[in-house]
Amino acid sequence: MTGSLIIQQPGNSVVTDLGRFRGPRFGLPVNGALDQFSARAANILTANADNAPLLEITALDFRMRATSDILIAVTGAPLTLTVGGRECPQWEPVSVRAGETVAVRRITGGLRAYLAVHGSVEAPTLLGSCAPDTVIGFGLRLSEGTELRTSQSVAPIRQPYYDLPLFRLGLTRPEFSSQAVVDVTDGPDVDEFGDTAELLFNTEYTVSARSNHIGLRLGGALPERQSTAEVLSRGVPVGAIEVPSREELLVLHRGRGVTAGYPVLAVVTSRSLDVLAQARPGHTITFRKTTVPDATAKYRAALRELENLRSTVATVFSLLGIGNQPGWSKLAPAAGT
């Protein structure tokens, strides 16, 4: 059964997914959920595909009403989640009844929250992704009264006694800190910075208010390029650390323009990009050097954690009868019997 979500207080929220992976070859940034681990976890907790459209809520309070019974999960930065006025746990599936209001308030310690709905929501796509692209003006930014269609309804599941939380699936939540440590590998142009490259690892940087999904701007001691030769435009990876001015360090995130003419000093690991996605203006960042094999191992360890969660969710949901497949007892009898 289909239903919809009516946005009552949008705050700063969009419908997104894991990104437009075919975009860069056409000159479009990948974009998509900035905290990929939290976004995947929200979708897995609601038995969706990892890449299903979901809501990204940045910094500001958010409220919506469901017109049918649904199952949601909210992940990301610590916050207060209420459903129909009851406080509910983050990082667990939560049952919402038709007519109830879901409120996300007081996002603290981090910057971005993810709200997934079992069966997902409908959103227009471009090159196979619904991720907003602010440069070309594509995507679904939510405003008051926006109606999002949902494709699956889930009968209310409630603990009969005292409305205790129903699920304890036990995913290890990421840590959120105002003094984050970010892993980086040497960039392809690190030699151009000579000895000053070491400053990156001996400096505490402060996140500027001018940071966004395109890049974070960090204040602190800056490594300096030793040559002034003109650089031809080149493709730059998400996570590239550049020193474009004498004022700030620039760390490119998922909304970055795909080409640039600045040397790449270092590159933030895939795992630590999630940490940067949660850094608020005023938070401090210190960088730690790692290697590509170690970064890959850490990334895969996080994926394994999510795989474990997926199998737990599959088991629990099949016992509760949530999901697309009807249970064996509901199948029509075979012909001839």
């Binding site: 056409f26 940034p29 031809l232 435009s233 998400v238 795909v258 080409t259 790449v264 933030v268 890959t296």
Partner: protein
């Protein structure tokens, strides 16, 4: 195209845990460009698991991949395989298409035209003549939004970028900087000198691909009068027959 007799040397650099930078390093910039674009096409056609795609520019190629599925080591081996294959069969031959772009120069359409003329110590008319004098090869698609990056007109001097980049440059802006030329497909901030504007729609977010040209295609500008601008409203940039 015949098989390249001497393969272009390349260097491969780590660029984090999800990308590699491949740089062609022969002294022949045309061979470097051809190598990285042929390699990009080969990678796209071969479609290895976990490889998202690549961004070829002038002498370099950024190959992006999913480190959960593949690794920098595997992708490097895959790139080397592609290069060997290309050395053997040569770059695929493709006939370039030609695009003709009407431009209103100067005034509100090209606020930096006079500044550029002054810098080059030429008249405004000479700048327009040089800009419309030849076809440009589209070297790569750049930021923002699939901009056609071209080798610039034959001006005597490189064009300096604006000291204070504009917060917003309109779609269709025709700009120059250094030894390069470009059209802005979408509204975006920009530090290049805007000398004119085309009324044609370059970027169509409803179509795939979003922009009608690919690297290697040719583009030529011709001057129109400001009164003619409105006549082109809503028309899309299309290849000439």
């Amino acid at each position: 195209m015949a098989a390249t007799p001497t393969p272009t040397p390349v260097d491969i650099f780590e660029s984090g845990d999800a990308a590699l930078r491949v740089v062609a390093s022969s002294p022949d910039s045309e061979a470097n460009w051809s190598t990285v674009h042929s390699l990009a096409e080969w990678l796209e056609a071969a479609g290895a698991d976990g490889v998202h795609g690549s961004v070829p520019t002038y002498d370099s190629l950024l190959v992006e991949f999913d480190p959960g599925v593949t690794s920098a080591r595997q992708v490097r081996a895959f790139v080397l395989l592609g290069l060997r294959q290309l050395d053997f069969v040569g770059a695929p031959a493709r006939k370039p298409r030609e695009f003709s772009v009407p431009v209103v120069y100067g005034g509100e359409y090209g606020p930096d035209l006079e500044r550029v003329a002054e810098h080059e110590q030429l008249s405004v008319q000479e700048i327009i003549e040089l800009h419309t004098a030849k076809s440009y090869v589209i070297r790569c698609l750049g930021a923002p939004a699939g901009s056609p990056m071209m080798d610039g007109p034959d001006f005597p001097l490189p064009v300096p970028r604006l000291k204070d980049p504009r917060l917003s440059v309109p779609a269709g802006a025709v700009a120059v900087a250094g030894r390069q030329a470009v059209i802005a497909p979408a509204v975006a901030p920009g530090g290049w000198c805007v000398i004119g504007q085309t009324p044609l729609t370059v970027l169509d977010a409803a179509s795939e691909p979003l922009v009608p040209y690919v690297p290697g295609d040719l583009l030529r500008f011709h001057q129109i009068r400001p009164e003619e601008f409105a006549n082109y409203a809503g028309r899309k940039l299309e290849a000439a027959r």
